[in-house]
Point group: C2
Chain length 171, copies 2
């Protein structure tokens, strides 16, 4: 599981997340409520709402790609308020991730990564990816999924994984 | 992020999950309710309860290690009903994962993996790990965490990630 393969997987999962938001919008229309109510839904009063879960998932993927390639991450301000705006945020992030090719991550595993919130500390790239970026990314996409499921949106494990048939793997 | 590093990360996350169950038990005692009520808690009526989330997280890790090393996975029947029994299940799984060393996964990325539920199909080991095992594992640990948070258990992102200080990374 190379760094590039992991970043590519983040892209796939963000596209799945985009689909869940689409399904949520259709569900709201069927049930005659404003889909953007879901943007503020949360599972616990002191946990992020759906909006921040989507923004955080995007950021986890964006910063992993930037840090591990030695690039400066582009700024994507957290201004979204509707499901449509969250889908646009996902598209912006996916477009950024699509600019990377495998050679951009040459030496990524041994590269020192020093995010600002580490306050001067740094970790090995492989540790950053495996122990911070991947769990953090999946935390936010899964919590977004859980918020939608808790609110009645009809989604299942196949929507989460995003694999429709085994021939998908031939790519 | 080698196969062995990913399996080691599963082990770390399972130990974190064990800690969340411990925190949940203490929370229940403080609030004077039976902690095992949480074992049946779920976020949606057609989603797994906490018990199955923990069992599924363990199985995702166990089968990844077995399939990618070419071993037969041991049987761990889904008999748990209490948080204590779920913690024991986690310990059993962690003990199994601890039997693996890095060389056991030599050639894992190119190994063909054919779980019974693929009904005769197979996928490349690297695809199995990145696109099935990792998302599936994090799906279940994050949903377990979300069920506990939704029921008021005091947990935060540091408990999820399980990193207490940056010196943890020197191991």
């Amino acid at each position: 599981m190379s760094t590039f393969e992991t970043i590519s997987q983040f892209t796939r999962m963000l596209k799945n997340l985009d689909q869940w938001l689409q399904t949520a919008t259709a569900f709201a229309q069927t049930r005659n409520f404003n889909p953007d109510v879901l943007a503020q839904a949360r599972l616990a009063p002191d946990q992020y709402a759906l909006t921040q879960q989507v923004q955080s998932a995007c950021d986890a993927a964006k910063y992993a790609a930037a840090y591990l390639s030695g690039q400066k991450a582009p700024s994507h301000p957290d201004t979204e308020k509707t499901l449509g705006e969250l889908q646009a945020r996902i598209q912006t992030c996916v477009a950024y991730l699509n600019t990377f090719k495998a050679p951009d991550f040459a030496g990524a595993e041994e590269r020192r990564v020093a995010p600002p919130w580490m306050e001067g500390n740094s970790v090995r790239g492989a540790d950053y990816l495996t122990r911070i970026a991947v769990p953090n990314f999946y935390f936010h996409v899964t919590t977004a999924y859980a918020i939608l499921r808790h609110n009645g949106v009809e989604l299942g494990k196949r929507d989460f994984i995003g694999v429709r048939s085994w021939t998908d793997f031939s790519e």
